[in-house]
Structures are given as structure tokens and as C-alpha cells.
């Protein structure tokens, strides 16, 4: 009898643990490890942090100038973000900051990443996703 009970218990455990992906297609993707690298302490960081934690189990937040292959090693995907120069979203207006994304992610940076707005043209200039 004992092996049979164990089998039933195991089946119940598996049934209970299995996510209902048909009802929630997002569930299997919560395990994606996402690193946000942006302007530390600002409203954008807060917005991304809250949004990402709602959808992923593992979220890291660092300043963009700390983004390297080493700092991104424990993550699957990175978001590289910076602020606008126009000052329409709570950041200081600064016409000189357009080219100020403080990181370079050349071809040696092979971690998948999303570059927000013009950040890609700064961190990986000279390739196809550059200024037009």
C-alpha cells in the first residue's frame, strides 16, 4: 500500500504545483530575470521597478553607469534606460544631456537588452540602431 499512496500524493503535488498556463499565459515567464539599469532614484526607475516586480519574480535595479557584463551576469534580459533632455517628466531640463547616457555596450556586451528611446544610439553607436 505504501508505494501506491506515495504515487497518489506525488500526483497531487504535481497537479497542485503546475501553473494553469491556459488561464494565465504569463505565468511561465515570471521566472525571467530582469535587470533595470537607469537613472538612479528618479521617477522612471520607480515606475520600471514597480512594473517589473509586478510581472517578474527576480528584478534587479542598478545605475546605468554600473551596467557591465559582470553586473548583468545573473540576469536574462536587461533594460538600459536614461532620461530625456526636455524636462517634461520631472527630470531637470538640460539641453546638454542628450548625449549623456553614461555607458557603452559595444559588441562585447552580449546580454540581451532593451534600449529605451535614444539610449541605444548612445550605448551602441555606430551600428544599425543609431541616429538616423
Amino acid at each position: 500500500m505504501q508505494p501506491r499512496l506515495l504515487l497518489v500524493a506525488g500526483a497531487l503535488a504535481i497537479s497542485g504545483a503546475a501553473p494553469d498556463t491556459a488561464a494565465d499565459p504569463w505565468q511561465p515567464h515570471r521566472t525571467l530575470k530582469v535587470l533595470y539599469a537607469g537613472s538612479a532614484g528618479g521617477t522612471r526607475e520607480k515606475a520600471f521597478d514597480a512594473f517589473l516586480r509586478e510581472h517578474f519574480d527576480t528584478v534587479g535595479v542598478i545605475a546605468l553607469d554600473k551596467l557591465t557584463m559582470a553586473s548583468a551576469a545573473d540576469y536574462d534580459v536587461v533594460i538600459a534606460d536614461w532620461v530625456s533632455q526636455y524636462g517634461n517628466d520631472g527630470y531637470p531640463k538640460n539641453a546638454n544631456s542628450l548625449h549623456g547616457a553614461p555607458a557603452k555596450l559595444g559588441p562585447e556586451f552580449t546580454k540581451p537588452f532593451l534600449a529605451m528611446s535614444y539610449v541605444g544610439t548612445q550605448v551602441r553607436a555606430g551600428y544599425k540602431l543609431d541616429w538616423l
Binding site: 499565459p25 517634461n88 517628466d89 540581451p112 532593451l114 551600428y127 544599425k128 538616423l132
Partner: protein, 281 residues
């Protein structure tokens, strides 16, 4: 993929069509708030020739001042540009879902490196310039001020095409006749390669290889073939008929020609099984 999975984003097209839209469709609203007041401007990248290397995919355009083919959301290798500025708190619900899908989608490109750097502009720019000329009035086309748009556009074409009547038809005929003969010129411009005209084939189809091989088989020291090999093939290709043929046969499945990469043939170094055409829709 990014529009429909894992989450069905429910993208809908709203409002009036952008008058420059390449597809004439209406607009996907990505950001909330008033432009330039409650949200900010983003960026687009050059769409002409963007997908002429197999590491790139154009995912979405966007309303912009650079032209209907400009890339707002696009991927090269392991980098996806999300050209819209707003953080998630100012994205629409469908944009938030597409953004999440994009994060999931990008995971497969771990280890990716760009196959080409941007060295030139794609020949498609000439079509856009011709379209711009077609929208000028005859009087505007005659404007001579150095800083006028007409003067700028005149630098893109042979002068005789822009004089007299029937300018649009002349431009279109010229483009059609020379589409396969364009190569890079100085200052990132595009120009007719007279050596290609003499060769009689396109520089971006495999007919190029057959034509060069034929010339070298006829004359092993053929100077035109030597120039074309130096201009369009990788540096390590031996400049003989056997060398060119061997290069083609070894790499046929992995070859691509890139205008943006400098009007050259490249070999995709990625293992074939690791570089399938990804599904993004």
C-alpha cells in the same frame, strides 16, 4: 511574437492615418499624455537597408520626421531599441503588454553580436529623396538658395534629371534603370558604380559572382574583376576564378549583401541552426 505572445497585446489602430505612413494604416497608440508636455519624444533609426543583414528585424515604425520607413522598435542582434520614451506608467495597456512580450522575446538572443556596423546609407534613400522631389512644386524645384530643401535634394541626383518637365518620371526611370548598380561613395552617399555597369549585373545577387568568375576565366588578370572583388568581397577572398567560386560554394547558405554595412558581401558566422528567422508577430 511581441504583439501576440505570450500576452495577446490587443493592439488596435486608431485615429487618422499618418500621412506619410508606408502602409496607409492608422496608428497604434503607445504612450499616454500630451506629446512634449506629459510625455517626451523618442527616437527612430534608419529603416533603409535596416534588414539587409540577418541580425536585424524591423518590428514597428512610428510617427516621426525622418520618413515612413524609420524604425521605432527594431532589433539588431542582442539589442532591441524601444524608441518610445515613456516609462511603463505612461504606456498604454497594449504597449505595456508588447513591452513585456519583448523582454521574453529577447531572451533567445543571449550571446548575440551585431553582424555589421553602419558604414553607409541604404540605396532605398534615393527612393525617399525622389518622393520628396515629387512633392515639391515646379517653382520650389527651381529654388537656388543653398539652404533650401530643393538644393539639398539636387545634390542627390544628376542635374539633368531635375531640369525641365517630367521630373518625376525621369527620376523614377533613372532609379529603375540603376537600382542594382548603386554602390557606396564618399561621405556616406550612394552613387552608380560604373564598374558594375560594365559588368552588367547587380552587386547584391549571386549573379555578381558568376559574372566575375566568367571574366576571370577569360582573363585571369582582368582589372575590372580585381576592382570588383576588392570592393565587394571579404578581404580574404582569393582574386581568382577558383578562389571566388570556392568562396561562393563554401558560404552560399550564409552569404548576405549589406548596403548599410558598406555595400559588401558578408558571411554570417553564426551556426545555421542557431540563426533561424525569428517570428516577431
Amino acid at each position: 511574437m511581441v504583439f501576440h505572445a505570450p500576452l495577446e497585446a490587443g493592439v488596435t489602430l486608431e485615429g487618422d492615418p499618418w500621412d506619410e505612413a508606408a502602409d496607409g494604416q492608422r496608428t497604434w497608440i503607445v504612450q499616454t499624455g500630451k506629446e512634449g508636455k506629459e510625455n517626451d519624444y523618442g527616437v527612430v533609426s534608419d529603416g533603409h537597408g535596416f534588414e539587409d543583414s540577418p541580425d536585424c528585424e524591423r518590428i514597428s515604425g512610428g510617427v516621426n520626421s525622418k520618413g515612413p520607413l524609420a524604425v521605432a522598435i527594431g532589433r539588431q542582434a542582442n539589442m532591441l531599441q524601444w524608441g518610445f520614451y515613456c516609462a511603463p506608467d505612461r504606456m498604454t495597456e497594449s504597449a505595456r503588454k508588447v513591452f513585456l512580450n519583448a523582454l521574453v522575446y529577447m531572451r533567445q538572443f543571449d550571446g548575440g553580436k551585431p553582424l555589421v556596423a553602419k558604414k553607409s546609407i541604404g540605396r532605398g534613400w534615393l527612393r525617399q529623396y525622389a518622393d520628396a522631389v515629387s512633392k515639391l512644386t515646379p517653382a520650389q524645384r527651381q529654388e537656388t538658395g543653398e539652404r533650401t530643401y530643393a538644393a539639398y535634394l539636387r545634390t542627390k541626383f544628376p542635374a539633368e534629371l531635375l531640369d525641365g518637365d517630367d521630373v518625376v518620371n525621369k527620376l523614377n526611370a533613372w532609379l529603375q534603370a540603376n537600382e542594382e548598380r548603386f554602390g557606396a561613395s564618399e561621405k556616406r552617399e550612394v552613387a552608380i558604380d560604373v564598374d558594375l555597369v560594365e559588368l552588367g549585373t547587380s552587386n547584391r545577387t549571386t549573379a555578381f559572382f558568376a559574372a566575375v568568375i566568367a571574366r576571370l576565366e577569360k582573363d585571369a588578370a582582368d582589372p575590372l574583376a580585381a576592382r570588383l572583388i576588392a570592393r565587394y568581397l571579404p578581404k580574404d577572398v582569393e582574386g581568382t576564378a577558383a578562389g571566388v567560386r570556392g568562396f561562393l560554394e563554401r558560404n552560399r547558405a550564409s552569404l548576405f549583401f549589406s548596403d548599410v554595412g558598406g555595400y559588401r558581401w558578408f558571411v554570417d558566422p553564426r551556426p545555421r541552426a542557431a540563426s533561424p528567422a525569428p517570428s516577431k508577430n
